[in-house]
Point group: C2
Chain length 230, copies 2
């Protein structure tokens, strides 16, 4: 899909071969690099919360399951962030990676569904720690409208378009039953959201310019289980 196309474009055909790994010429990271950098960021953010000041590629490797050589390689492509014999400064590495991923700022998200899952999401730090703010919660149940959910009040779906516009919302999170997901995805698309984070099991149909990410804990479990069983 849209991701597939990105991959082919990533390092465009016949570019100058002397450009090391990732010079400033290539304006877009490869899918793999972007995914791994995001992963490092997660661990670094938490390590910082725990008061850790430096971290080695070996430690990062243990938490991310990414080979330590590759971590050093990924990072050294953008600068010499580490100190030999010491490791990487957690704070400064967080800023560097945020800069590389261009996600230094705050991003507003709209959440659909004020059930258990929606409340869990709105009340957690998981998104907040990475600069995502739940600025609006919607639910189709009229009884829930006005409820306080995390930092926001539950709004009526009819207000969606207005809020997306006003709050400059790019990401929509679907924490609703599978049966309702497609209908609400359509509304999110219609309102102008570009990224949909789907916590239902529905296989969503969206236009090509919209990216869907479906959460799949069971898939991860199956995968882990396979390696346990063999």
């Amino acid at each position: 899909m849209s991701f597939g196309d990105v991959a082919t474009k990533a390092d465009g055909g016949g570019l100058p071969p002397n450009d090391g790994g990732l010079g400033p010429l290539s304006d877009r990271l490869s899918l793999g690099v972007a995914a791994r950098l995001s992963r490092y960021l997660q661990v670094l953010t938490q390590a910082r919360k725990m008061g850790k000041e430096t971290i080695s590629s070996q430690e990062l490797s243990e938490y991310t399951h990414v080979n330590s050589t590759q971590i050093r390689r990924d990072l050294s492509g953008f600068g010499k962030f580490g100190k030999r014999g010491v490791g990487y400064n957690v704070d400064s590495l967080v800023s560097q990676i945020r800069k590389i991923l261009r996600t230094s700022g705050q991003h507003n998200i709209a959440l659909f569904g004020a059930g258990h899952l929606g409340r869990a999401i709105a009340g957690s730090d998981i998104f907040a720690d990475h600069g995502f703010r739940v600025v609006a919660v919607f639910d189709q149940d009229p009884a829930k409208i006005g409820d306080q959910v995390g930092p926001a009040k539950v709004l009526h779906v009819d207000d969606l378009k207005l809020v997306v516009d006003e709050e400059d919302i790019v990401v929509g999170v679907l924490a609703v039953p599978t049966a309702a997901a497609q209908e609400l995805a359509d509304k999110l698309v219609d309102a102008g959201v570009k990224i949909i984070f789907n916590y239902s099991e529905a296989l969503l149909q969206v236009p090509p310019e919209v990216t869907v990410h479906t959460s799949s804990p069971a898939v991860d479990l199956l995968y882990a289980l396979y390696f346990y069983l063999t």
Copy 2:
């Protein structure tokens, strides 16, 4: 960086050339293959629920973001599951992949945390659809003990070891605050759980024989956002 040598080796190696891709000789799947097969399974399971009888590699590709050629390649390594001009039978592909992943049976899981997230997990089909059954829920809050959460009643932590033994539980899910996660992970390890699914942000320390998977929705969002922003 051009490796002309690779080309010469491609067919030059002295190995039996007729062993297709993945004969029965290789007893363990590579990480990548196992991950992708799990992914296909998720989509197939949902497609089946929706009444779909056949699916093409192209359709699977759209939902999984895996290249369609690679899907055909992954599958053809284990047998000729598809029908040219038609696609794959959803039902039979589900069984085949389950067989390959050796996850055809039921697996019991223990859930820690009877808050919003715990209740959302216990009440959803996400795990159930893939053969995972929440057989026990634990919480440290005495007030919650005895509560009905999804299909199970909330138990006291002291019963953990007993239940893990009796119910043959291999997987533990942590849906608890970050501050409590390490302590409970220790208890799960002590009780004999081999796979921990961590929904907190804690960086868990566990012995090498235990696998930790930390859920990271924000990481996935950062990643998606990068490609939207660039």
